[in-house]
Amino acid sequence: MEVTSGSNAMTAGRRSSALSFDHASVALLVCTACAMLATLGDYGFTYDEPPHIRYGERILRFYASGFTERGSINTSYVGGFDLLAALVRRISPLNALETNHLICVFVAQCGLIGTWKLGSFLGGARAGFFSVLFLLSIPVYYGHQFNNPKDVPFAAGYVWGLYYVAQWIALYGPVAAPPGNFRAPPWSFIIRCGLVLGLGMSVRIGGALLIAYLALFICVALVECKRLNIVHGWTAIRPIALPLAVAVGVSWLLMVLLWPKAMLSPFKGPAKAAEVVTHFQSFDSPTLFEGRMLSSHKVPWYYLPTYFIRQLPEFAIICLLGTLGWLGVRSYRAITRRQQLPLTLLLLVVAAFLPPTYAALRHSVLYDGLRHFLFLMPPIAILCGVGFSAVLRRYKSGPIAHALVACLALFVIDQTYALVRLHPHQHVFFNRTSGGTKQAAKRFETEYYGSVYRELTTDLQAHLWTKDKDRYLNTTHTVTGCGSKLFFTENLPLNFQYTSMRDIKHADIFATYARDRCLERLKDRPELLRVERDGATLAIARSLTNDVVRTKQRPTK
């Protein structure tokens, strides 16, 4: 079993090194929190945020009214994050959207801590440090931490759930020292485990996967013990039957408490929601993939793998592949030599690869690139961190180790530069093998979330104000564009009036982001300004005030 933390055999030197890495991790986490707070105001809101803010308010009203005010709460979205944000809004001096961003950062920080804890648990303090470093070096994940109220909170719940599942298997399974039957964990652990699993499910019902992992790996551990002749028979599982039931019960209870739909129908509600999520067909968003606009119902099986290969940094991909190879060899040797399998690391592999495999096999509805699968980033980062740490341990302080550390340092510098360069639109990152963001923007989804409208509208005001101040003071500008009207009404002052694309003939400015190939529309109209990162256009504003005939240009499909 690959559990190095807490080992009594640790030498004084290794213990000192572990403490240094722990302190480095804490310093890294504190610096990250401060950096995120310092740049919080730069991030615009995304199209997912207003509905979640409204949902949070409805949940709060439901509880405040003694469960009587049930308007529009019968939804498949679990509301743990939204309820927390609604509560904080009651005391926050910031507006609703800024408060939402602050809660996003808080929960994302919990996810980083979970990544550090799980990495440390699986590979020691050094692996924990590297895991956080790898996760922070993935720009797509970093950018989403500020304004994604669904996917990043779920990623945080997912990694914490994995941490407890891994602990259960490693510390209380039959292959833990001394080998024998499963051992009942302490009650404090059982309750904490239940709460964490419940928090995971309180963001998305898909958090139930964590319970499935726990059950699956208990069975695998049992099979493993039978293979190694450590225990015999299913009776070995008896000591954990009650603790398991309690942990699952606590998690279910927490989910029900945070989810009005489940509270009204504790069994049918979650079951129905799980069915809706796994057979999600009610929404079809055209998505740009390999230069073609595809229905989100008809994306090829390699949609997700393509986005992961193109949006993960190259060095992370190399480390991930190396770790998978190393784990494969270790597992093969363990099987042939009748040694213990590295179960907790295999848990991580399953956690990182099972969901996208399932989505590919089921032809799930997919759009917005890998956004819905951001929860795979922490396990991937941990696999990278644990693998990299294992290689360093193997080569100790030789020239290969020095070369590897130099590679890691270069990687971190390069990715930090990318984070700064793309700020605050890190989620549009594509790696060099994809030709960078500039080339990828023509063929893949980049700015699909709407956060760029903040920068676009700020620049637009400055442009019009600088051009003619007297005219600006006495003009109501009518703006149209793609996406939610809230992108305009919330980002612009009231001397800008929004009109829908259907009513474009009354608009004098067309401002849009990259989604749905909207940048291709109205290309005959004079350009006012554009938002670019790494040479890729993320948003554009055009004037509609001259006499050229206004025609809607449909993108070629």
Partner: protein, 193 residues
């Protein structure tokens, strides 16, 4: 003893230190709560359809657009289809300064500074913007906006205090030397604080 205490502290930091990294976030929120200026605009709403109920409250910025549809995060204080409102605040100016002021409305609105009408829009069909540069002399000025709106009403007072595009005049958005503070709600007068 010092060494063992230090070692214990280091161990505790490595075990619970991750949670320390969460502290900056609530601390930052508390700091923002401490520095956030008190809401300066005294708002008084009267529904046109009936004399009662009225709503009186302090608001942090004068910028409202009530559509009555589901995209509202903050609901309108009274029936947004038919509303009369007045907004009062006090502005303290340290030295003579020229400030671009804009009044945006979709009804009838007036900006009154020290009992003198500066900007006015009457029965606007759709949203209308009126603005001009105003020379503010040192001292305390009483700002008052009167507004009557019907369907989907909008009202905003925008100003630029630092050369950037005008933004809603809010409690925390003014330049050094100019500050907005609360009007006395009983007498609706300004006094230097």
């Amino acid at each position: 003893v010092t060494e063992s205490l230090g070692a214990s502290l280091l161990k505790a930091l490595s075990r619970y230190g991750g949670w320390v990294s969460l502290l900056p976030i609530p601390l930052w929120l508390l700091w923002r709560m401490a520095i956030e200026p008190t809401a300066a605009w005294h708002a008084h709403y009267v529904p046109n359809a009936a004399a009662e109920p009225t709503v009186t409250r302090f608001e942090s910025a004068l910028s409202h657009y009530w559509t009555g549809t589901k995209d509202m995060i903050e609901p309108a204080p009274v029936d947004p289809a038919n509303v009369t409102a007045s907004f009062n605040a006090c502005m303290s100016v340290a030295e003579t300064v020229e400030v671009p002021l804009m009044l945006v409305t979709s009804g009838t609105a007036r900006l009154i500074v020290d009992d003198q009408t500066w900007l006015e829009v009457k029965d606007a069909e759709g949203r209308v913007t009126r603005g001009k540069n105003a020379a503010l002399t040192p001292g305390v000025h009483h700002l008052r906006v009167e507004f009557t709106g019907r369907s989907r009403p909008a009202i905003a007072l925008l100003a630029s205090f630092d050369g950037t595009p005008p933004r809603p005049v809010g409690s925390g958005k003014l330049a050094t030397g100019i500050r907005l503070f609360r009007v006395d709600p009983k007498s609706m007068t300004c006094a230097m604080r």
